[in-house]
């Protein structure tokens, strides 16, 4: 601690340069924090997918509808304990940019399959009894300031009504909370029956089935059994674990993880050069001062530690500010208005960020610190 004023004074030597270096480190860690949250948002579906849930879609594509009659046939497959289904609605609420997931489901079974959606019993009961009723997650309700009893009009883009109108209206009967911080609370769920009775086409079909199985260890076998039931039919199926289903969904956008890792790799490499150059320059500029410290009796190890500490303080300041700023921005919520429903800083970004700070500090400080340590006093004083 007693050397802190010495370290700090060296950082203040060229304030403009230090500030620019700090800013570049700050930007790198801001990007790190933010992009980690983006990556997390894309991967969270995979992470939170139920280990005991399977998803069955049409073998060709999820947009190809499956007959509702598959429900009972799937339920009879050995190893299956429960079945729910869903159809993607894809409507517009007020403005196309207000994107959120709207799904027509069979309410009771769907909530049984997703116990992580926590909804008060009275609201659940009201929804089950209300044909045009809907429930939504807390995040969505807060986003649009909805309260229970509100009438919510949604313009259909996929499902026009039989009377030719595209306007669908729902009554908000309930608001669910997530059991975990990572539970998706951006969904809007309503009765599949309401959709099916009123839509102009493809009656009696669903987009996908959600299936609970007795034993997660038997998931591959059960999936094969389900697909075997519908082999050589008009609608062959593809059953996978919910995790694999989510992975496939995320991959449609691209390998987000690899893209973000590549971006961060380049950013940190550039920062390594910038901060490393600053430290090298900083040491070169005070060769005489370092020689004076050695003359006073500062041992080589201490000189090494002082220069390393300087680069670590620089990295720690810039890194902490960057991560803090990222946290502030992320806590303001999903920047895409619904494309990234769970936009949070994962817990591990703090320790990982701290590790990167230490690595950056060591990587940028080691070379100049060694240079300072190996300095020959007599030559350095002659040069000065």
């Amino acid at each position: 601690m007693k050397f802190l004023p010495l370290i700090w004074s060296n950082l203040r030597r060229k304030r403009v340069r230090t500030i620019f270096t700090l800013l570049s480190i700050l930007v790198a860690f801001l990007l790190f924090g933010y992009l980690v949250a983006v990556r997390n948002a894309f991967e969270i579906g995979v992470q939170i997918a139920g280990v005991d849930r399977l998803v069955t879609t049409d073998k060709v594509s999820i947009v190809v509808a499956l007959p509702l009659s598959y429900t009972d046939r799937i339920a009879q497959v050995p190893g299956v304990t429960d079945v729910a289904y869903a159809t993607w609605f894809g409507g517009i609420y007020q403005d196309p940019k207000n994107f959120f997931a709207q799904m027509a489901v069979n309410p009771e079974r769907y909530l049984r399959l997703y116990p992580e959606f926590r909804i008060p019993a009275d609201q659940k009961k009201a929804w089950f009894a209300d044909r045009t009723g809907a429930i939504c997650g807390r995040y969505l309700a807060n986003r649009f300031h909805w309260k229970i009893g509100d009438r919510i009009p949604i313009q259909a883009t996929v499902w026009p009504k039989k009377d030719g109108s595209s306007s669908w209206e729902f009554t908000l009967d309930g608001i669910y909370d997530g059991a975990e911080k990572t539970t998706d609370t951006t969904q809007f769920l309503f009765h599949w029956k309401y959709l099916d009775e009123s839509r102009s086409r493809r009656a009696g079909t669903v987009n996908w089935y959600i299936i609970r199985i007795a034993s997660p260890a038997e998931a591959p076998q059960v999936a094969d059994r389900i697909d075997a039931v519908f082999a050589n039919s008009d609608n062959e199926t593809k059953t996978s674990t919910e995790k694999a289903f989510m992975q496939g969904f995320a991959k449609q956008v691209g390998d987000i993880g690899a893209i973000i890792t590549a971006i961060l790799g380049v950013v940190f490499f550039v920062i390594l050069l910038v901060a490393g150059n600053t430290m090298m320059q900083s040491v070169r500029e005070r060769i005489t001062e370092l020689a004076v410290l050695k003359t006073l009796g500062y041992p080589n190890g201490l000189i090494l530690a002082l220069v390393l500490a300087e680069s670590l303080v620089l990295a720690a300041l810039g890194g902490a500010l960057g991560l803090g700023l990222a946290w502030l921005l992320i806590s303001r919520g999903d920047p895409t208005n619904g494309m990234l429903p769970i936009f949070v800083m994962p817990w591990w970004s703090g320790p990982t960020g701290a590790l990167f700070i230490v690595l950056l500090g060591l990587a940028t400080g080691t070379l100049p610190a060694l240079q300072a340590m190996r300095l020959r006093v007599v030559q350095a004083l002659r040069r000065g």
């Binding site: 007693k2 203040r12 009796g297 080589n300």
Partner: protein
């Protein structure tokens, strides 16, 4: 300008007795090689400096004065010969041992002061004490005393750029004496100063020698500065002589 101030005990090792030889250089040689060229900077220097002496080391440029001073400070080693300071054979010490030894026994004053520009006078003077186990309060007391000794008690919060050359050199002297070293080595301490500041610094060095008993070895080109010392020796082509160089 100098003040007589009671010196606090910093705990550094003191050499017992008075009048004994503090520095003994025996047959010191220093050879540099530049490519295939061999340069004999010191060619068998023998020197005894008693405790409490104020010795001026004179000689033309390239005579080896600074090399000898660096060897006495433990910043350089002789190619051959023995250097004993207060009973320590510093010519055979490792680099780490020399660093520790310097921090305890040597105060060094440079021609160009060499203060750290980003630190206040107080912080500059405190630098050697950071290597000691002294508490923050004790360090502050020692720094205040050293600044008072050099007559700059009221300039502690000033940065080097806010001080005159003479004041900077006095801060540098305060830094050199704050740890109560055995030996004060000065390399052209007035070489960069005007006449008035030069007088002040020489007064100060004389006071440190006579009032505080500091043993001082000062390299200088300046006969006027050398005249303030108790003794003058001359270095010529790597050899010491008692008489001025003709």
């Amino acid at each position: 300008m100098t003040q007589t101030t009671a010196w606090p005990h910093s705990g550094s090792t003191q050499f017992s007795g008075t009048g004994e030889t503090l520095v003994r250089v025996q047959d010191a040689h220093k050879v540099y090689t530049r490519g295939s060229e061999r340069i004999d900077v010191l060619q068998g220097v023998n020197l005894d400096v008693p405790r409490g002496d104020f010795l001026a080391l004179m000689g033309p440029s390239g005579s080896g004065k600074t090399t000898l001073l660096n060897i006495l400070a433990g910043l350089d080693r002789p190619t051959q010969g023995a250097v004993d300071v207060g009973g320590d054979r510093i010519d055979s010490m490792s680099e780490g041992q020399l660093a520790r030894w310097r921090s305890r026994h040597v105060g060094f004053v440079f021609q160009l002061y060499n203060l750290l520009p980003t630190l206040t006078a107080e912080r500059n003077v405190e630098l050697p004490l950071l290597l000691t186990p002294l508490s923050s309060g004790d360090r502050k007391r020692h720094v205040a005393t050293a600044l008072a000794v050099v007559g700059l008690a009221d300039r502690g919060k000033h940065y080097p750029r806010q001080l005159s050359g003479g004041q900077e050199q006095r801060v540098a002297i305060a830094r050199a004496i704050v740890g109560d070293p055995t030996l004060l080595l000065c390399d052209e301490p007035t070489g960069d100063l005007d006449r008035k500041s030069e007088e002040e610094i020489l007064d100060l060095l004389q006071a440190l020698n006579s009032d505080h008993g500091k043993t001082i070895i000062m390299v200088t080109h300046n006969p006027h500065a050398a005249a303030r010392a108790r003794r003058i020796v001359y270095l010529n082509k790597g050899l010491l002589q008692q008489e001025p160089i003709q």
